[in-house]
């Protein structure tokens, strides 16, 4: 008999109630149970950062959390970044700065930077590079992402168009 529990959690502002096997990771729960396949699964052991989501506003590897641990908590994923049908300032800046190529690591990068930019309204390039160490990109490289984070911060401060 598989060990199961009923959990209730909020994902991108919407409440879900599901019965889950307790060994189901949060990443697989989001993708397989809720169909939110924007959260990508790369290494599945906490190294690549592709599966990064926000749990109660803090970035976390969703492959290293169990869905059952999120009972009663709020989760934000890449699908929740769009604001009123438009790209968020960070998403727009990523496009403008060519911060992605194949796009596989992008959801994790955006969730990491979303948390970071909330707490750092005036980030330095070094701080952006430091926070991005937790996300591996194997094609575009990081320069475009760094530019995008700095541009998004500027735009969010109302200092750039």
């Amino acid at each position: 008999m598989p060990d199961t529990r009923e959990i209730t959690l909020t994902v991108n502002g919407k409440e879900y109630r599901r019965e889950v096997e307790t060994r189901l990771t949060l990443a697989d729960f989001l993708r397989h149970e809720l169909g939110l396949t924007g959260t990508h699964v790369g290494c599945e052991h906490g190294v690549c950062g592709a599966c990064t989501v926000l749990v109660e506003g803090r970035s976390a590897r969703s492959c290293l959390m169990l869905a059952v641990q999120c009972d009663g908590l709020g989760v934000s994923t890449i699908e929740g970044l769009v604001e009123g049908g438009a790209l968020s300032p960070l998403q727009q800046a990523m496009q403008d700065c060519h911060g992605l190529q194949c796009g596989f690591c992008t959801p994790g990068v955006l969730m990491t930077l979303t948390e970071f930019l909330r707490e750092h309204t005036h980030p330095t390039e070094a701080e952006v590079r430091e926070v991005l160490t937790g996300n591996l990109c194997r094609c575009t490289g990081y320069q475009g992402m760094v530019d995008a984070a700095l541009l998004a911060a500027k735009r969010m401060r109302g200092e750039a168009a």
């Binding site: 598989p2 060994r23 803090r58 290293l64 059952v68």
Partner: protein
């Protein structure tokens, strides 16, 4: 599914947790999950019972009492990093935390989890060794204090009994006049260090070294405190030559080798890291003396 099947438990108190540890066979404690979850995803670890202590609120705290920093085992690395008490009274720990994984892993990872995982190059283990910390193991039998020197019994193996829970750790704070340093070398930022070195240096009024502590990680299965090197520094002038001599000794300590890094390279790094740590710690001690 990545992990093998287990029965999940989420106790709310230490008492409930140690009851479970005493009665359940092949149980593992899940704290921040940044080491155990990868091991379960790889099926290196296949516990029959997973005891998740994330809801045990009493295990998450940071307190400074009588010159001692006390941390609950479930205190997240991020909360240590952002603790004003630690920033003010133990900048050494604050500096070490910046090297622990990445922001996303520090958001979840805990001090207790890091200590129990016992990775030879773990930064929090190194700092606990440097400060001569005491670990508090709770079980139904009571609380047992374990000196950090007695904690590692082998490679990634602690002296905790199967029914014991690491509940917290006490770290004697450095003296106010002591300068600190934490340096490490890793191939990429956030990776496990190949060699890490922390140091605390205190100076006499005449400028000579009054006290010196060094902890080296990456040479053995646990951090080493090279007592002979520490003793030889006392009474010396804090000059480059003094630190070069100490570093040369550190470079002669026997080192382990693995598939990626030779013993010779670890010894080379031990020499370089020890020099840098001592130099920086002494320079900070001097700044404090003039402040």
């Amino acid at each position: 599914m990545k992990p093998a099947p287990f029965t999940y438990h989420d106790p709310r108190s230490t008492a409930e947790t140690v009851d479970m540890l005493a009665s359940l066979e092949n149980a593992r404690v899940l704290a921040g999950g940044q080491s155990l979850m990868p091991m379960m995803n790889f099926r290196f670890a296949m516990p029959d019972h997973l005891i998740d202590i994330n809801k045990v609120a009493e295990l998450a705290y940071v307190r400074v009492e009588d010159g001692t920093l006390r941390c609950g085992a479930m205190t997240r690395q991020r909360d240590l990093e952002y603790s004003n008490d630690i920033g003010a009274r133990c900048p050494l720990l604050h500096e070490a935390l910046a090297h622990v994984g990445h922001r996303q892993t520090r958001n979840r990872g805990t001090i207790g989890g890091s200590l129990c995982h016992l990775d030879p190059s773990a930064e929090l283990l190194n700092v606990t060794a440097l400060l001569g910390g005491t670990l508090h193991a709770a079980s139904k039998r009571g609380v047992r204090d374990i000196a950090i020197n007695d904690f590692a019994v082998g490679y990634m193996t602690t002296s905790l009994d199967p029914d014991e829970l690491l509940a917290g750790v006490s770290l004697p704070l450095p003296g106010l006049g002591e300068g600190h340093a934490f340096v490490e070398f890793a191939r990429r930022r956030g990776d496990f260090a190949i060699v890490a070195c922390s140091a605390l240096v205190g100076l006499e009024r005449d400028g000579n070294i009054a006290s010196a502590r060094v902890a080296l990680s990456g040479l053995s299965h646990r951090p080493l405190r090279p007592a002979a090197i520490e003793r030889a520094l006392v009474g010396q002038k804090p000059t480059a030559d003094t630190f070069k001599a100490a570093a040369a000794e550190a470079g002669r300590i026997e080192a382990m080798a693995d598939a990626y890094v030779t013993a010779e390279y670890r010894q080379h790094l031990a020499r370089v890291m020890t020099y840098r740590a001592l130099e920086q710690a002494a320079s900070r001690a001097r700044e404090k003396a003039y402040a």
